[in-house]
Amino acid sequence: MEIITKISKQTIKIAVIGELDANSAISLDRVIRKAIQDEFYKIIIDCEELEYISSAGLGVFISYIEEMKTHHGQFVFIKMKDRVYNVFKILGLEKLITILPSFEEAKKVLHEN
């Protein structure tokens, strides 16, 4: 399940709740695609209540990484639990994306103050 909060003209926050498996990945993909269509290229993914992420869930983020970059945007993940962070780390994704502890830091990185 996702909770979407608009932050500014080009920044949006999506809170992903529960388990991100093959089924919920489809719904998340729809949400992100809609956000990009509406020209939100800075997307903060709030992982505070994300308990598990499967390879299909990771695939959703991976498929948009390059597109976001071309629009000078990016994903910023915040409040990620160790278990989820470990999955990102093993895949090598922690080098490609920004993972931060808090929402405030994410805003700072995205120049949203």
Binding site: S55, I62, E66, I90, L91, G92, K95, L96
Partner: protein
């Protein structure tokens, strides 16, 4: 065979007995004079009646009466013959032919015809009796017992005239009257006849009544050249038979006559039942929706006496398709349907069972159509809540369909809907079965993608096992013998699981094998594999991969990790297991040149007895059945420290069992693969 022979033998004896007793009867027959104790003719008559009765009974007891007209017809025919024979002398005499001059000859002839009259009444009584119980078999026995008893008494009285008394005769007639009354009202068979056969049966029965009464009359009247008169109280068996046969024939004739006005209604009811059965049968004959709709249409047309109509089939993605129509042109159908559509939305979707236009010429939408029909009714055919067809019926009269007909068609539709639902279920079951077979085939194909046995490589002990969560999965491992001292080894996991992942695994096997042939070093191998993945997979699809190159002479491994779970190494020296957490990115995530920079290649020495554990994330993420806890890295590490000293095959087997115990049965969420190799 023996039984049949015995039966025939018995029939012959009975026949002879009947004939013999009758001839004797003819020879000594005298009119009863006064009161005698024992009457020889009476005895002979009794023997005759009994033996011929049993003979007829045996012959017809087990034949089923399906054709009542034929049965009654045969009675009419034999009755006519008997009648003619019995009145022949009188007729001849009337026409002046004095053939029977000698009184003796006439007597013999008349006694002979009396035999035929006896047999005829016996035969018709028995046939009527069978008719009375054509349906009911339970009460039959009691009635039969009573009838036989009564008949037996009459025979006894015949043999011993001394028993005759006014009281006895009166009570005998009273009993017979009751008995005959109860038998005569058993007319169930009339209901089974169709209108046509009822009319035919009335004619036959009328004729039969006339014949029966005619014969009775010739017996009754005392006339020259006629049969010896029949004394009601002195020939009780015959009286009984005549009473029953005449009464039954007459009563059935009357009831049939009074039954005629409602016969057509009963016919209609029977036709409706037949229609229901037809719709029911249509499911087993042809498992097709169109066939059911066609049957439904024909049945509804017949039972409502509609003048014209049509039926359409609706399928999810297709246009309405007219399956069958009667006495109406396609053009008219198309025009009527388009005019109806606007109304339909208003009325049919409101949950109405049908749309009824009582007068087409008064209807605002349909008024302009130049057709003969005046009333139209449309029924939706629904299966569960989806509209599967539409049934249209038209009549040339205004308000052509009454409540009864509408309800009837409604129940036909309900029946058809059940049949269609059954077909759907059947199709679903077949589809599921086919899918299961397909997956089973996929499973077998995929098994062949993984190496079944490891070719002999000097000083290496190796084992592997893979379990897919679904029938097929996204895990893959393989190896390649570079030379007698070197081999390449890889384990990988395609994102996602199930059929899609399995399909990509098949694709990757081709890519990996061609890369292995080039004997690339691990880093280069990973780089090349990433390029291949980037080209042939959709965005968002990725593969994690670890590639190892084992050098047996140098006792070294060189490896690169492409985002795959870290390699676990067990050292025999200190009995410790550790993860090799090096940098590395999954394949297909970065699809440009910058990927090469992320690759890291390392070299590691090993000693005899060490063990390398390669696995997929399904092992780490396997969840406990109850508390949802993950199997995790720590458990795996501990396991390798405890069991790393065993043979490779044993390590794999025990680890797989351990995980299965942990997750519990049927709780595997992701594909699990384990590969162990040990330098020996």
């Amino acid at each position: 065979m023996r039984v049949i022979t015995q039966n025939r033998y018995l029939n012959g004896v009975l026949g002879l007995l009947a004939l013999g007793s009758y001839i004797a009867y003819c020879l000594i027959e005298t009119k009863p004079v006064g009161t005698i104790i024992f009457s020889a003719p009476g005895l002979l008559e009794a023997i005759f009646l009994l033996s011929s009765g049993i003979l007829i009974f045996r012959k017809y007891h087990h034949t089923e009466f399906y054709n009542i007209e034929a049965l009654l017809g045969s009675l009419v025919f034999s009755g006519l013959l008997v009648y003619f024979i019995s009145v022949l002398p009188a007729l001849l005499n009337d026409f002046g032919y004095h053939f029977f001059r000698s009184g003796q000859l006439l007597n013999i002839y008349l006694t002979f015809s009396k035999l035929l009259v006896f047999i005829f009444f016996l035969f018709s009584s028995m046939m009527f009796y069978r008719l009375a119980f054509a349906q009911n078999s339970n009460k039959k026995k009691h009635y039969l017992k009573a009838a036989i008893n009564l008949f037996g008494i009459s025979l006894l009285l015949q043999i011993f005239p001394v028993l005759h008394s006014n009281m006895l005769i009166k009570s005998f007639f009273a009993l017979s009257g009751i008995m005959i009354f109860f038998l005569v009202i058993k007319l169930d068979w009339i209901a089974l006849l169709s209108l046509r056969s009822k009319i035919l049966t009335i004619l036959i029965l009328g004729l039969l009544c006339l014949i029966l009464f005619g014969i009775t009359q010739t017996l009754w009247l005392r006339q020259p050249y006629r049969l010896t008169p029949w004394n009601i109280s002195y020939n009780l068996p015959l009286t009984l038979l005549i009473l029953f046969a005449d009464a039954y024939a007459f009563v059935s004739f009357l009831s049939l006559l009074f039954n005629l006005p409602i016969a057509s209604f009963i016919d209609k009811k029977n036709a409706e039942i037949e229609s229901f059965m037809r719709i029911n049968r249509s499911i087993s004959a042809h498992a097709e929706t169109t066939h059911i709709l066609r049957t439904l249409f024909k049945t509804s047309m017949e039972n409502t006496n509609a003048d014209s109509g049509w039926v359409v089939l609706l399928q999810d993605d297709r246009e309405e398709q007219i399956i069958e129509s009667e006495v109406i042109t396609k053009k008219n159908i198309a025009r009527l349907q388009s005019s109806l559509k606007s109304r339909q939305r208003l009325q049919l979707n409101a949950g109405n069972r049908y749309l009824y236009i009582k007068d087409i010429r008064q209807d605002p939408n349909l008024r302009n159509h130049d057709i003969d029909e005046r009333s139209l009714i449309e029924f939706p055919v629904r299966v569960k809540d989806t509209l599967r067809g539409k049934l249209f019926l038209l009549k040339r009269i205004v308000s052509g369909f009454d409540e009864y007909q509408i309800n009837l068609v409604d129940s036909f539709i309900a029946q058809a809907s059940v049949s269609m639902q059954n077909i759907d279920l059947l199709h679903d079951a077949l589809k599921a079965e086919r899918l299961k077979e397909d997956l089973e085939i996929g499973k077998n194909v995929q098994k062949r993608l993984l190496p079944e046995s490891f070719p002999y490589i000097n000083k290496i002990d190796m084992a592997a096992e893979s379990e897919a969560a679904q029938q097929v999965g996204g895990d893959y491992y393989d190896f390649y013998r570079i030379d007698e001292n070197k081999m390449g080894l890889l384990i990988g996991d395609v994102s996602g699981k199930g059929t899609a992942a399995a399909f990509h695994v098949a694709k990757m096997k081709g890519i990996f094998q061609s890369l292995m042939l080039e004997s690339y070093a691990p880093a280069r191998f990973i780089e090349k594999a990433n390029a291949a993945v980037s080209q042939s997979f959709d965005k968002g699809m990725f593969i994690t991969l670890t590639y190892l190159e084992v050098d047996i002479l140098k006792q070294q491994i060189k490896y690169s990790r492409g985002g795959h779970c870290p390699l676990l190494v067990y050292r025999a020296g200190n009995k410790q297991a550790e993860y090799l957490e090096d940098e590395g990115l999954g394949l297909g995530i970065l699809r440009n040149g910058s990927f090469a920079k992320t690759i890291c290649e390392k070299t590691l020495s090993y000693k005899k007895g060490d063990a390398f554990c390669l696995y997929t994330d399904g092992l780490i993420e396997a969840r406990h059945a109850l508390n949802e806890e993950e199997f995790g890295y720590k458990r795996l590490q501990q396991y390798m420290q405890d069991y790393g000293k065993l043979e490779a095959k044993e390590i794999v087997k025990r680890l797989m069992n351990r995980v299965n115990e942990f997750t519990g049965p049927d709780n595997q969420l992701d594909d699990i693969s384990i590969l162990i190799f040990k330098p020996a």
